[in-house]
Amino acid sequence: MRTVNTYIGSPVERIEDQRFLTGTGEYVGDMSREGMWHAVFLRSPVGHGRILKIDASAALALEGVRAVLTGDDMGEDVPTIPFRRPNPTIGPFAQPIIGRGKVRYFGEPIAVVLADSQEIAEDALGLIDVEYEQLPAVLDRETCFADKVLLFEAQKSNVTSVFNAQKGSADEAFAKADVVVKDRFYTQRQTATPMETRGLLAEWDEKNRRLRVSGAAKLPFFNRKTMADMMKLPEEAVDYIEVDVGGGFGARGEFYPEDFLCAFAARKFNKPIKWVEDRREHFTAIGHSRECEAQVELALSKDGTILGMRGDLYVNIGAYVRPNGMTPVRNAAQFMTGPYRVPNIDLKAHAFVSNKTPAGTYRGPGRYEGCFFMERLMEMAADALQMDRVALRRKNLLTNTEMPYPLATVLPSDGRAETNCDSGDYRETFDRCLKEFHWDEKAKLDGQQVDGRYHGIAIASFIEGGASGPSEACKLELEADGSVTLYIGSSSIGQGVETVMLQITADALELPMDRLRIYHGSTDLLKEGWGSYGSRATVMGGSAIMMAAEKMLDRFREEAAKRLNVDPSSLTIAEGVARHADGRSVPLAEVASAKIVTEAKYTSWTPTYTYGAGAVHVAVDADTGHVQVLEYLVVDDVGRIINPLTLHGQVMGAAVQGFGSVFSEELAYDDQGTLLVGSLADYLLPLATDYPHIHCISTDNYPTPNHPIGAKGAGEGGIIPIGGVVANAVSSALKSFGVAPNILPLSPNRIWDLVQAAKRKA
């Protein structure tokens, strides 16, 4: 491994950029095949109902329409989508790949139209005659727990699982407490909203009985296995091909009903089937996330020491349990205490179904929600104790001497019941954040009215999980010209995988980057692999590369020794040349005829925890409810920085996504379960004019001891603390009114309502 002049740690410009800047990338929507058919989906216009009739005869009569598939074409039982993280109670709540008999959310697919063009297929949608009997909808915790309306009649309840996060004895801690703060908090329903909607191209090779699915993202290897099982094919008969992907953020690339339906149609009709989702459809169909209500309390002693936490979280997971639908639920329970020392914990996270789009993950799943609840409680505790909020946080932050520090154990186990914070001093990033933010100076403005607006500041701390197991695989091949090709299971969702992986490879092999090539994320390249999710690609893929590179250098040494007729151990290898003490040497290109190929699989279930702090300065207009973010600073320690350019870009991008979460993005429904968001004009993503003053500082003072690469999963640091820190800054700004911003988003009308309510009370 190169130790000086390394690519690792350097702001290497991305090799991906060239094709994206010249319009020569290839996204799935850009793909085309001779004679392909276009698929579009007829989706339920009701939130909860029974399908009384589907008549597609008029649609089939339209010129250019080739077929219409419904649930009745799927055989006796409509297949359901398997879980990625199973648990004992979710089985009956799995999503059927098409709605038959009953529909449970607005947007649930009930028919597939296949036609010569997308336009014709869309015309045909309007010609399908469907009759529904509308049923009352379950939309929130109240209607869910009334259990008057059941989404699944055979189940006695709408609750799919209850996860319990436990540590020590919370009840004893609360009995001893000097101060207890408690409240109800809520984070609204959102979705990741990658700029490229989903899409797929499915091709069936009847002669060889092989299926090829292009447009894969996130976890192609798991999805291939899922698809093979569902299509009753051997795994080797299915290829998942990754092309360029326009953003993932947790939602894109999970196994969705449309994936199966396109492949099913491709085989049934032996035609290439292409589907590109439209934006309205995207909002109704891709995984939602974040809708969580908390009723939680925190116990402290007089001196500000946290004694315990307990309470309940209620996560609205939508109509079905999707492959990773439980991840945000169990995460919210396990990670709510975040970077703080909380010795006694008893949290129950209840996952319940509703007549909304099924949920999955979105950047920082469960962690963003949990951090909001925790940081609101900390702010309330500082008030109740009449203690400085900075001192209170600092007192309870974990330090280096406490590592590894066990978080709460979560049961039922999904294989990751227990976990430890791995390394770091959480006070360091906190102190650095205070310093760079000029906290003391800005604190003078806190709660003050300046030019008609109230100023407020706040600081929050967080941990971010990374390096999700189980493994990643790669292969290195020495080419005839002495260059090396890397094949890796990690997939690209736009985050710069190619550059980062080649930086690691280049240093490990001690070759220049332009002597390397990379192929990634397609299942035809490697026997096994995983993908990119849970901030894992750099740690897991990077560690696999280091192993394969070491093997390749060993093989190089052996081959060079043969050519020089010396003992392999007498050779030293540096910068692509094997040298003997006698001055003779062999460059790597000279052993190319040996066709060196090395493979490695890196296995680990040990997560990493990047950590840090975020501080914000806001100005609130109490008359309009508008909040301006004057400055946001996030400081995180990521163990080891591979590429500061891409890391910085991701942390900053995450921060701006976070402001969308806090202020403007909401997937609202009416009381019948109709989604009220139809376009990006209704779902308000942050724009270039909204949040210009953001700064990020990343350090690498505490490498993870758990992975050879030292790096921790990163890129979510900007988003995790943002709900908590902004809500606290708003509450601090408006402290003369005494408002408690406990419900997100902090839209102008919500803040205005809070101010008005406070004024009435006074």
Binding site: L21, E26, S32, G246
Partner: protein
């Protein structure tokens, strides 16, 4: 209906249906897939192309309306593989991640800076507020645009 227009200096003649958008026509009939479609509602700006010097949402314009027009797409911003100063600045400042919104960002900025090479940060942000990026948080895109102004100023000085 037969329509002819100039794309990046090349004359093309196509026969789109009356309802075909310019975006779909460029992507599917002309075969230039660099122009991306992110929403089809005119909100996200990914599909922006330059029509007769003005930045236009190609998802809101019909192909037949482009008859006789001079169109510049992402493929025509640089000179093939050679990147323009604006493209180079995007690379240097990491003004893109997934690359999906990038064509619209580049065409919008190219149109703006060609007309107003002295545009200040506020003006650039204001114009770019019609283009949504979900990856970068915009700050590096603004930095890239600010840096690229110099090259546009020099070009304006030449003509």
């Amino acid at each position: 209906m037969t329509v002819s227009f100039d794309v990046n200096g090349r004359k093309v003649t196509v026969d789109p249906a009356a309802r075909t958008t310019l975006a779909d026509c460029l992507r599917h009939d002309v075969g230039m897939t660099g122009t991306h479609v992110g929403c089809e509602h005119g909100v996200c700006g990914a599909c922006t192309v330059i029509v007769n010097g003005e930045a236009v949402r190609s998802c809101l314009m019909l192909a037949v309306q482009a008859d006789g027009a001079k169109i510049t797409t992402i493929e025509g911003i640089g000179a093939g593989e050679e990147l323009s100063p604006l493209q180079l600045a995007f690379k240097k400042h990491h003004g893109l991640q997934c690359g999906f919104c990038t064509p619209g960002m580049l065409t919008t900025l190219h149109a703006l800076l060609s007309q107003e090479p002295d545009a200040d940060e506020e003006r650039i942000r204001d114009v770019l507020s019609g283009n949504i990026c979900r990856c970068t948080g915009y700050i590096p895109i603004i930095e890239a645009a600010m840096e690229a102004r110099e090259a546009y100023r020099a070009k304006a000085g030449e003509s």
